[in-house]
């Protein structure tokens, strides 16, 4: 039998020198996801291909829910649509008991289509049209007001609507001791703006302040920031109760929990530095519990966690298109998974595993996507086993944002499949065709022909 072939490599040995990009991480190929062979998936659905594990979604959700429920009596998750608004994904979360948290009229419509009752939709975001607001009022949705212009628009709308009240909350931003401070969404707590907004709402007969909302940041590496935020939210709730004699029904702490992806520029791997669900839960719930609410008056705690609930459940399968040498002698590997469908590679060093057997040899390589654009660079340098054209790879933790923030740029977007809890594979979004794109285009009559 002939020996197994591997492309020849020569690696310079640098004794004692640290590689600032870290050492090799991949020691075993990833040949299957939830016991479904990667090769079979790609043979049937093509490459690239997004794969979502329903089992992982449900397990992660249960883990997060347990972390909060074992510490606090009234907890409600609301699925952050913008993180991944594929209907199949949303339905898994709704089956688990999540409400919907949307940030646009488009996402609102999606939530309604998914059968979410209007009163279980939280409407966040700075962009709500008059039509959106009317629809939300009629459906008894929770409108989280972002700025004074929106508040005044809602007041105007309510003047025309009879026999109904709008259920509202205000979005609060604040200094939680982390940098950068997010202050572009909502009303500022520290300078009194949030209280001014509450006072304005109190004066409106047709607005009912039901809750308070904050979203202190994203990929929060310290759980303590949530403790600071929770305390300030409790202070506001107390001021409201003292002023009106009424209580807010809920405190919505937003999202921002980390997934275990590694941020670019991070010295340590993400999994080694991120807080756990328990860390976040402890920070938030202990602050609220110790604030001094009477047990029967504890507000409902709402969480809009997105990234941390879905990232791990998403995989991207791809193929090596070519390998080449850069001017400095480094290997470059061109993959069919570019930044167009892997938007998060702009800020994460995604873990990438070969999907077939390999030898013990590894080589430093740059990873590029397929786009004819200089920005399409996935990794500046990573030490991977030797790969050749046609080899397959698995990109880990791409469940959050990639399937919503992806770009239709240069090429079309691929199939997405979901592996259910029994191991059956379902196509949940069809790959785009040329018609998907051109059907939206209109060519003026005088440009319809040419004489080339």
């Amino acid at each position: 039998m002939k020996p197994t072939y591997e492309s020849p490599i020569i690696t310079k040995l640098n004794a004692g020198m640290m590689n600032k990009f870290g050492s090799r991480t991949e020691y075993t190929p990833v040949k299957s996801i939830d016991n479904v062979a990667v090769a079979d998936l790609m043979d049937e659905y093509g490459s690239p291909l997004f794969v979502i594990s329903e089992k992982t979604i449900r397990q992660t959700y249960q883990k997060a829910l347990k972390a909060f429920k074992m510490r606090y009596p009234k907890v409600q998750f609301a699925w952050s649509y913008k993180t991944n608004y594929l209907d199949a994904v949303c339905q898994v979360f709704h089956q688990e008991g999540s409400w919907a948290e949307v940030v646009s009229g488009f996402e609102y419509q999606k939530a309604l289509r998914n059968g979410v009752p209007g009163n279980l939709i939280i409407f966040n975001g700075p962009d709500k049209s008059a039509e959106d607001l009317k629809m939300a009022v009629e459906n008894r949705s929770l409108i989280h007001i972002d700025h004074f212009d929106e508040l005044y628009m809602l007041i105007e709308i309510m003047e025309e609507m009879e026999n109904t009240k709008a259920r509202v909350a205000i979005r609060v931003n604040m200094d939680t001791g982390v940098y950068p401070q997010w202050d572009r969404f909502g009303f500022n707590y520290d300078n009194g703006q949030a209280w001014n907004a509450i006072v304005k709402i109190i004066a409106q007969e047709k607005l009912q302040l039901e809750g308070l909302h904050c979203h202190i940041g994203t990929y929060m590496l310290t759980a303590n920031a949530y403790a600071v935020a929770a305390r300030k939210m409790c202070e506001l709730a107390l001021s409201y109760a003292n002023t009106t004699g009424e209580r807010v029904k809920y405190l919505d702490m937003g999202g921002g929990f980390c997934s275990s992806n590694t941020l670019k520029g991070s010295y340590l791997q993400g999994a080694d530095i991120i807080p756990t669900f328990d860390d976040y839960a402890k920070a938030i719930t202990s602050t609220i519990l110790q604030f001094g609410f009477r047990p029967d008056e504890l507000p409902l705690l709402i969480l809009e966690t997105g990234r941390a609930l879905i990232d791990e459940a998403g995989y991207l399968l791809g193929t090596v298109l070519a390998t080449k040498r850069l001017a400095d002698g480094r290997r470059a590997t061109v993959l069919d998974t570019g930044v167009n469908i892997m938007f998060t590679s702009f800020w994460y060093n995604h873990r990438i595993s070969p999907a077939q057997d390999f030898s013990q040899h590894a080589e430093e390589t740059a990873l590029f996507g397929p786009l004819c654009m200089n920005i399409d660079s996935l990794r500046e340098s990573v030490i991977l086993p030797i790969m050749k054209k046609g080899d397959r790879i698995v990109v880990h933790e791409v469940g959050a944002y990639n399937m919503t923030q992806w770009m239709q740029f240069i090429t079309l977007r691929p199939n997405i499949v979901m592996i259910d809890t029994k191991g059956d594979v379902h196509l949940i979004r069809k790959q785009e065709t040329v018609n998907t794109i051109v059907d939206c285009e209109v060519v003026p009559e005088h440009l319809a022909k040419h004489n080339l």
Partner: protein, 81 residues
């Protein structure tokens, strides 16, 4: 293309260049090619040897051999004598 005469090559793929003090490692295929170069085989012969040894098609063998030779050159392990 030939390997510099003073380059030390061990059987398990360890390379030492006494001129620069650099050391390198190669994988099995790399060691196979280096041994042929050390034996003064021509590039054409090495190409044929590669295809016979690993049952390769011409394109893969030629592409990988050229790539490997360019790396040897880049590491100053070769001479044009």
């Amino acid at each position: 293309m030939k390997i510099r005469k003073n380059i030390a090559i061990s059987e398990n793929g360890f390379i030492f260049n006494p001129m620069t003090g650099d050391s390198f490692s190669v994988n099995e295929t790399g060691a196979f090619i280096l041994q042929k170069l050390k034996d003064d085989e021509s590039e054409e012969t090495i190409l044929q040897n590669l295809m016979d040894e690993y049952d390769l098609d011409t394109y893969t063998a030629e592409r990988d051999l050229n790539d490997f030779l360019s790396m040897l050159k880049g590491h100053q392990l070769t001479t044009n004598e």
